[in-house]
């Protein structure tokens, strides 16, 4: 009986076990499906392995697009787009067009470059091919993301004094006003002083390069077919030199100009060459409240378009997955919602189905969407190189004191070594005196002061003669760091040197570049208060000096340095041993 019972029990187990096995299989499969579905929901289109290897697309873009692009980069990165199961991540960096070009040539490796204008593309290709011996261009198929014409931005009241809006103004009128010694007096407003024109540095910034090209056309009396030989004619060179000598100081980007315009109003500049988009942003209050509206003058001779191309570079560092990811991001930027956002940021969308008529681009924001009526022909890469060279030859000369902190703390972490490199790079941007066709062409003037608890003259303020740069480089190499810091005293000393009538030169940009890594610890003659008074005195005597300051390292007195720069219409930048070389180059763009 017990055996029989065991048998029937085993049979019952078999009978019950088979369906149980079947049910368990179903449960197992369901568990598998659920697990897979959970993974797919969390990471759409990807397997767990793929997630570990994402595709990174690095994008260099010109800074005026930041307000439009940055939110879109975040939106795209958060949308879970993937290529071949791998998530795509865009890493975007705002960098001026000329600086980006230089960075690529020096070994930086972006996947995509979006300069402000296609003009930069042949320049990159030309230099890339020269440098690497490559037969194929690095950048091809530039496609516009958004566009904006180059305009001359003027304060409305002053533009009206020139005849706006009834009279068609152009480069000729603005240049004539700049060169007229009577200044605004020639237009019935002597109280406005001189007509001050400004543009950015053409080596760094798109609007600067385009401004110089427009000047080149005006100098040659042409609107197309500008050739290098047109720029070599003495009268053309004299014309560009006259314009450049009347110009307010340069800068590395339109952002800087825009901020200055907003802060200082008509006293800062009468006219600045900018993209239409920046005029819109200024009038929208993006840089602060304006004293009055700015209006865009569309030069009647023609202008240029900034077309903000999107270029996927063809370097060996860009693989096919990155290309596909870069294309996906481009498609996203060209989609209707993204293009409509471009309009909000002051650009003209490249999607032509988005109308401008009755949009925010209108007279309220100082612009006219039905302008410009004609363009200047985009010069060839060869002519652009000739323009840059000619500009370097005739640009406004500088009268400059470099003030360098060599106190004991500068010996830490290779700080002094990095500064020495930076100084030498800065020196490369300056121009020595030249003799051309028997005529002496002036160069820049330079002096170098070094300080710790004492102030010493490393290079006396004097014109740069041929061969001087080499000697100054050698002198810079001898610097050693020690002792304490007399920041106020050295600032006042440098100011007195510059403002001395024997040294001051009102045909030049008179400036000091002061670098320091610490607080004042040992000044005996000046305090901040008395130093600021000295600055005021120099301005009142008609010899204003711009002070650009570099707060080097974390211990520098940022607030003081910022106040010094702001009091003199200069600029304070923050430096580290890693970026100090770049900062010196950046500051050179102001001269």
């Amino acid at each position: 009986m017990p055996r029989q019972k065991r048998k029937s029990s085993a049979l019952a187990w078999y009978i019950a076990g088979i369906p149980l096995l079947f049910v368990c299989c179903l449960i197992g499969w369901a568990v598998w499906l659920m697990a897979r579905s959970l993974v797919e929901t969390a990471f759409p289109g990807e397997t767990p392995q793929a997630q570990e290897e994402g595709i990174v697309v690095t994008l260099f873009y010109s800074p005026e697009k930041a307000a439009w692009l940055e939110p879109l980069v975040q939106e795209f990165n958060g949308s879970g787009v993937s290529i071949g199961g791998k998530p795509v991540q865009i890493q975007a960096r705002a960098i001026d067009s000329g600086e980006a070009l230089q960075a690529i040539l020096e070994g930086e490796r972006p996947t995509v470059w979006s300069p402000a204008s296609t003009l930069w593309v042949p320049l990159l290709n030309r230099r890339w091919q020269e440098q690497t011996g490559a037969t194929e261009p690095l950048a091809i198929y530039p496609e516009p993301l958004v566009v904006s014409p180059l305009v001359i931005a003027m304060w409305e009241e002053q533009a009206r004094a020139l005849g706006y809006p009834g009279r068609n103004l152009g480069w000729a009128e603005v240049i004539a006003a700049t060169l007229d010694e009577r200044g605004w007096g020639a237009y019935g407003h002597p109280e406005w002083g001189r007509f001050k024109l400004g543009h950015t540095n053409p080596y760094f910034s798109n609007s600067g390069l385009l401004s110089v090209a427009a000047e080149g056309y005006a100098a040659a009396g042409k609107v197309r077919d500008l050739l290098p030989e047109d720029l070599e004619r003495p009268e053309a060179r004299d014309f560009v030199q006259a314009v450049e000598s009347a110009i307010i100081h340069y800068g590395e980007s339109t952002e800087y100009f825009a901020r200055q315009m907003a802060q200082r109003g008509p006293a800062y500049a009468s006219a600045v060459v900018l993209e239409e988009q920046t005029v819109v942003r200024l009038n929208q209050g993006a840089y602060g409240k304006l004293p009055q509206r700015l209006v865009a003058i569309y030069p009647r001779e023609g202008t240029f378009w900034s077309d903000h191309p999107y270029v996927i570079l063809r370097g060996e560092w860009v693989d096919t997955e990155q290309q596909a990811a870069a294309l996906a991001f481009r498609e996203f930027l060209l989609s209707r919602p993204a293009q409509e956002k471009a309009l909000q940021a002051g650009f003209r969308p490249s999607d032509t189905s988005i109308p401008l008529q009755n949009s925010l681009l209108g007279p309220d924001l100082g612009v006219d969407p039905f302008q410009p009526q004609t363009v200047l022909e985009v010069p060839s890469a060869e002519t652009l190189e000739a323009l840059l060279e000619a500009w370097q030859g005739v640009r406004k000369r500088v009268n400059l004191l470099l003030v360098v902190d060599i106190s004991g703390s500068m010996a830490d972490e290779g700080k002094l070594l990095a500064v020495q490199d930076g100084l030498k790079l800065f020196l490369d941007q300056l121009v020595e005196e030249q003799v051309r066709d028997g005529q002496v062409i002036e160069g820049d003037r330079l002096g170098i002061l070094v300080f710790n608890d004492r102030i010493s003259t490393l290079v006396p303020l004097s014109p740069l003669k041929p061969g001087d740069k080499e000697r100054i480089r050698a002198a810079v190499d001898t610097l050693e760091a020690d002792y304490t810091t007399v920041l106020y005293d050295v600032s006042a000393y440098a100011l007195h040197q510059m403002a001395d009538p024997e040294n001051y030169d009102d045909r030049r940009i008179n400036a000091i570049v002061l670098m320091t890594d610490g607080l004042d610890t040992a000044s005996t003659r000046y305090s901040e208060h008395s130093l600021l008074r000295e600055i005021e005195k120099a301005s009142a005597a008609g010899r204003p000096v711009r002070i650009f300051t570099i707060a080097y390292g974390s211990d520098a007195d940022r607030d003081l340095l910022r106040r010094l720069a702001e009091a003199t219409e200069g600029r304070m930048v923050e430096g580290t041993p890693e970026n100090i070389r770049r900062l010196y180059i950046l500051l050179s763009s102001y001269f």
Partner: protein, 393 residues
């Protein structure tokens, strides 16, 4: 107690086994379903909008061949680039079929392919012959305010002769009675080495110069006066050469008359873009038909290459048949194309049909004063392209 443990152990074992089997089943390939039959079609840029919508619909309808679902992938490419890539076999996905803008490119590709392979890549007869999908002629497009000044000055519609004279006007628009701040007259065409519309434009210009519609020879193209005349046309191009016709048309509206006063481009692109012009520049576009013209027939060419299978070639034919279906051909009208299927009229009661909308701006159903020119030989086409290249700085 021991018995309960045994039961629990067995249940645990069964659950584990079940999960293992379930996971295995999850990984098993689905053998019951045949893989998709994928084909790749490279096409001219101006066909993009029409073909994308059509391909999407084709894929949704689930067309099959021998039980396999056909899936169409598209890639837009300038005709010149496509020719080079097909010739050099430089594709990630080799194309099963190609739809260039016109038969010109069929001649050019076969002329390059034959010496290397001893056979044509595109058939002219038989089941796989190149078959026109949609038609579009070349047109002149001008901004309305410029067109009025032009017509007043020359007393006739623009054509190669008057356009060349306008481009050579010493003071630009001012010389023609227009506003001085319009600057020089600015002309636009695409790069004839890369793009069909640019190639057709210079072909038409050459026929017009020699005042004939067939028999153009390489020797004639060497004529110095002809070369100087062509160069004066190209000198009027200040905005550079767009690579693709769709870009040229976009740029005309994007940059307005500041960059292009007059361009030569496909009728379909103008027809589909005319609505955008007033919103951008507060004025409309005006269309004119040149005296000599050439139909851009957008042939669908199944490539007789060994990189695609017989099934893929037949699948491409299925897609071609679909594109010629009446409803899909009617869709082409929205994009400004004229249907190749003669059963589909150009004018219908569709309010979106640009041929209904823009007749006042010069868009014509019956093209006036048209003389069709012969497609030149591959040698003449190549020589025209070389001439263009030599003239560039």
């Amino acid at each position: 107690m021991r018995r309960r443990n045994l039961i629990l152990f067995i249940v645990f074992l069964l659950v584990a086994l079940g999960i293992a089997v379930g996971v295995l089943v999850g990984f098993l390939p689905k053998t019951s379903q045949l893989p998709d039959l994928e084909i790749w079609v490279v096409h001219a840029t101006e066909e993009t909008e029409w073909l994308s919508a059509a391909a999407q619909r084709f894929n949704q309808e689930g067309h099959r061949l021998g039980g396999q679902r056909i899936v169409v992938h598209l890639e837009a490419m300038d005709s010149g680039d496509a020719l080079i890539n097909i010739r050099d076999e430089k594709f990630v996905h080799p194309p099963t079929a190609w739809s260039p803008s016109s038969m010109l490119w069929v001649n050019l590709l076969n002329a390059e392919w034959y010496p290397r392979h001893g056979t044509d890549l595109i058939m002219r007869v038989g089941q796989y012959q190149a078959t026109p999908l949609v038609l579009t002629p070349m047109v002149w497009v001008m901004w309305q305010d410029r067109a009025e000044v032009f017509l007043r000055h020359f007393g006739e519609e623009p054509d190669w002769d008057t356009v060349q004279k306008a481009l050579a006007a010493p003071e630009g628009w001012k010389s023609l009675g227009g506003q001085a701040d319009w600057g020089y007259v600015k002309f636009g065409q695409t790069d004839p080495v890369l793009s069909n519309s640019g190639l057709v434009a210079i072909t038409l210009a050459a026929y017009d110069y020699f005042d004939r519609i067939r028999g153009l020879t390489v020797d004639e193209l060497m004529d110095n006066n002809f070369q100087a005349w062509m160069q004066s046309l190209w000198r009027g191009i200040v905005g550079g050469y767009d690579r693709a016709s769709a870009n040229l048309m976009r740029d005309m509206i994007l940059y307005g008359a500041s960059k292009y006063d007059i361009i030569m481009v496909y009728e379909n692109l103008v027809a589909s873009q005319m609505k955008n012009a007033p919103g951008r520049w507060g004025t409309s576009l005006r269309v004119f038909y040149p005296r000599l013209n050439l139909w851009n027939d957008h042939p669908f060419c199944v490539l007789m290459a060994d990189w695609s299978t017989a099934d893929q070639k037949d699948a491409a034919l299925e897609f071609q048949k679909f594109l010629l279906r009446e409803d899909i051909q009617r869709q082409a009208l929205h994009y400004g194309f004229r249907p190749a299927n003669v059963d589909v009229p150009v004018v219908n009661d569709d309010p979106e049909n640009p041929f209904n909308l823009y007749q006042d701006q010069g868009l014509q159903v019956q093209i006036p004063r048209i003389n069709l020119v012969e497609v030149p030989s591959a040698e003449v086409i190549s020589e025209l392209q070389r001439m263009f290249r030599r003239a560039q700085p």
